[in-house]
Amino acid sequence: MKFKDIPISAWIGILSTSVFVFAAVFAPWIAPYDMADPVGQVWEPMSWKHLLGTDNLGRDLLSRLIFGARTTLTIAAIATLLSFFVGAFLGMLAAVVGGWIDQLLSRFVDLLMSIPTLIFALVVLSVLPSNLITLILVMGVLDATRVYRLSRAVGVDINVMEFVEAAKLRGENRVWIITREILPNAMSTLVSEFGLRFVFMVLFLSALSFLGLGIQPPQADWGGMVKENKDGIVFGIPAALIPAFAIAMLAISVNLIADWLLNRSADTKGGRGEL
């Protein structure tokens, strides 16, 4: 793969995603203020002192946005990884083993998916103790149903290919068949799906925080920041729009990358020809 083969849209996505990741990783060094300190008046407008203004408690909005990137990205990434490990593993297992295991898993997933995710998460999170682990687990497991469906569908397709039959006839065990025969051929589809699911995780987490069940104050995260500042909108104060804009930017830029990966995996050589 050569750099100049990457389309301009993907470059934009990569560039702006890197900015978010950079901010998240080096938050304590680049944020001008501490995220929890009230350093000014309530809802100060943008100025050289506070580049993006201050929030409903007089905290620096830019600093909170940078620290919020850290929380939002980390939790979304961990939850996505979790959903992929669980979903892809079970999906592939169902595809290869088939029979009652497939039936059991698929019907259970159908059951989970029939309940609206947000409502399901609200109920579970309001019952369970609110900490980060529960939050990640709930988000991961609920999203794993989507990954399960995709990887099962891809797995079933590949499982009937003759090279998989050849491996079975050779006497290979299921671990080899899943990891060496099926997964490499499903990878590009799964990787591009990873990007999309990550975006959904960010949105999901923001929605939960907005409803007060996600990240708890004084920790900053983008959905929570929208919630804290939403009352300002009535007075014409844009503080709530800034984190909302950050959420939208992140979603768009990750989507641009995912879109490019998906295009690559859709080409006839399965993307491999260009690597």
């Binding site: 083969d5 003759e162 039959e165 050849a166 006839l169 025969e181």
Partner: protein
């Protein structure tokens, strides 16, 4: 030019835009200046292996290029007009009216949601050539001319309600319906069984004769084209190798390549007698899928070391199911298989590693039989590693030795299947089977997807390997020429039963049972007038009718 020429192709050059890794596209010429003329009512056969440019040239007479194919030079004159200069609307008035197309896969060419008759008369109505009732009358006449059963009512069926051979004839009717001057037949019988092919071939020939249409007939099978064409053009790598009358090409070919094509099916292995005890005895196997119909009914055959059993039959005869039973993918309902004197476990997952190693399989489609994400080295090295626990340098040495055996360069081990040609891929599949040092290899239509000359090479390689490694082959095929080439004994399957079984000489010599006679007589021979002669002397009608 004479006014009798329907189509005149002058110095046709066709290029294809290939995207290079750096994103820029480059034009590669795939047809290098081909010229041909077709007179009214004559048939030109285009023949060549895959990639010879025969379909591309055929489609150029409709001024059509598949994908990024572009006509870069030369002229295509249809009824005296250069169709390259017609423009969009001009082409629209020519296609489907003056020139029509019959594709290889009729089942993919029909809309499954519409009745046949509506699709057959569609272009006739589109061009306003006839009223609906006139068009339907003409379609019914054509159905009759193509000897379709029940020509009055067959049009009201849907595509899935008729057989493959019938559908191909309906497609021919569709092309003939607007009374075109030229029809392009693109491998119309290639996907059909041999006994069906002969009927479709006869129907097409008859219809061409009755309607007086000119035609381009594209195929890779010289014996087929010899039956319908007046002239033949042999193509290779986008160039004309030889162009002449059918009689001259078949009986007195000038070029070496044409000679090779004409004589391609002449390898014939001497039949070996069964001496020792059989490696495998398949005893009274009855099998089927689910609780449904029986696909295999009381089949018993034997396989001997160093010999080949050819299992012949049409699609649906149960020959591939027999392979599935032997490999253990489909446990039989009744009967047993003895392998080296012991009863073989019916289910594959319960078989011992030794048994799995000893029975190997080679598939028809080498493309799908190899993992596209594994290198050739991994593909053929894995069985060695898996069965013999060999690693490191010794493994690499054994991979090299295998590549030598299948006559491929050693550096191919680092490449991926996608970078190999069809014949090379099939060789790699042979190497993978060979790597397990098996006692029996099941070859499921291993040469069907290959060009004749390439297939010949594969068969020679298989025979050579059999002689040196003393393996038994179970060779599943629908192609009787292949059977003649490599078999020691032959099992003819028909509707799940053994129609005939025994040593090759005995099976292939008279007196025949009706089915074997039909099957044997349907194999096109490279001889003029074969089709007419055979149709008048057959005992049994094929299933297509």
């Amino acid at each position: 030019m004479s006014s009798d020429n329907v189509l005149e192709i002058r110095d046709l050059k066709i290029g294809v835009a290939v995207k290079e890794p750096n994103g820029r596209s480059k034009d590669i010429e795939i047809v290098h200046g081909v010229s041909a003329t077709i007179e009214k009512g004559k048939v030109l056969g285009l023949i060549g292996e895959s990639g010879a440019g025969k379909s591309t040239i055929g489609l150029s007479s409709l001024a059509y290029g598949r994908g990024s194919v572009d006509i870069t030079g030369g002229e295509v004159l249809l009824n005296g007009r250069d169709i390259m200069k017609l423009g969009r609307s001009g082409l629209k008035s020519v296609r489907g009216k003056e020139v029509c197309y019959v594709s290889q896969s009729a089942s993919a060419g029909f809309n499954p949601a519409k009745r046949l008759i509506d699709q057959v008369i569609e272009s006739t109505l589109e061009h306003g050539l006839a009223t609906r009732s006139e068009a339907i009358t003409r379609a019914k006449e054509l159905f009759a001319a193509l000897s379709l059963p029940d020509p009055e009512n067959i049009g009201s069926r849907y595509p899935h309600q008729v057989s493959g051979g019938q559908l191909q004839r309906v497609m021919t009717a569709m092309a003939l319906c607007p009374k075109p001057d030229l029809i392009v037949f693109d491998e119309p019988t290639t996907a059909l069984d041999v006994t069906t092919q002969i009927d479709v071939l006869a129907a097409i020939k008859n219809a061409i004769h009755l309607t007086g249409v000119a035609a381009i007939y594209i195929t890779h099978d010289l014996a087929v084209v010899a039956q319908v064409a007046d002239d033949i053009m042999v193509l290779r790598h986008g160039k004309t190798v030889e162009y002449g009358s059918t009689k001259q090409i078949i009986e007195a070919p000038q070029e070496d390549y044409t000679k090779a094509l004409v004589t391609v099916r002449s390898i014939e292995a001497d039949q070996q007698e069964a001496v020792a005890a059989p490696v495998m005895e398949i005893k009274n196997i009855t099998a089927g899928y689910g609780r449904g119909t029986t696909v295999l009914d009381d089949v018993s055959v034997e396989l001997y070391a160093g010999q080949t059993l050819a299992v012949v039959g049409e699609s649906g005869s149960g020959k591939s199911t027999l392979a599935r039973v032997v490999t253990g993918l489909l446990p039989p309902r009744k009967g047993e298989i003895q392998f080296e004197g012991k009863v073989l476990t019916p289910k594959q997952p319960n078989r011992s590693l030794q048994d799995l190693k000893d029975i190997q399989m080679i598939y028809q489609m080498a493309d799908t039989a190899m993992n596209p994400r594994q290198t050739i080295g991994t593909i053929i090295g894995r069985p060695i590693e898996f069965y013999f626990g060999v690693k490191g340098k010794e493994l690499r040495d054994r991979i090299d030795a295998l590549l030598d055996k299948i006559e491929l360069p050693r550096d191919i081990a680092k490449r991926y299947p996608g970078e190999l040609s069809g014949g090379q891929k099939q060789r790699v599949c042979i190497a993978r089977a060979l790597a397990a040092e098996p006692k029996l290899i099941i070859c499921d239509e291993v040469t069907s997807a290959l060009d004749p000359l390439v297939a010949d090479g594969i068969l020679k390689l298989l025979l050579q390997l059999q002689a040196s490694e003393n393996m038994a082959y179970m060779f599943i095929t629908h192609d009787l020429a292949t059977v003649k080439a490599i078999a020691d004994s032959v099992a003819v399957m028909h509707l799940g039963k053994l129609a005939r079984y025994g040593p090759k000489q005995q099976v292939l010599s008279p007196p025949f049972d009706d089915y074997t006679d039909l099957l044997l007589s349907s194999v096109p021979e490279m001889r003029l007038g074969w089709l007419e002669k055979i149709l008048s002397s057959r005992k049994m009608q094929s299933a297509g009718n």
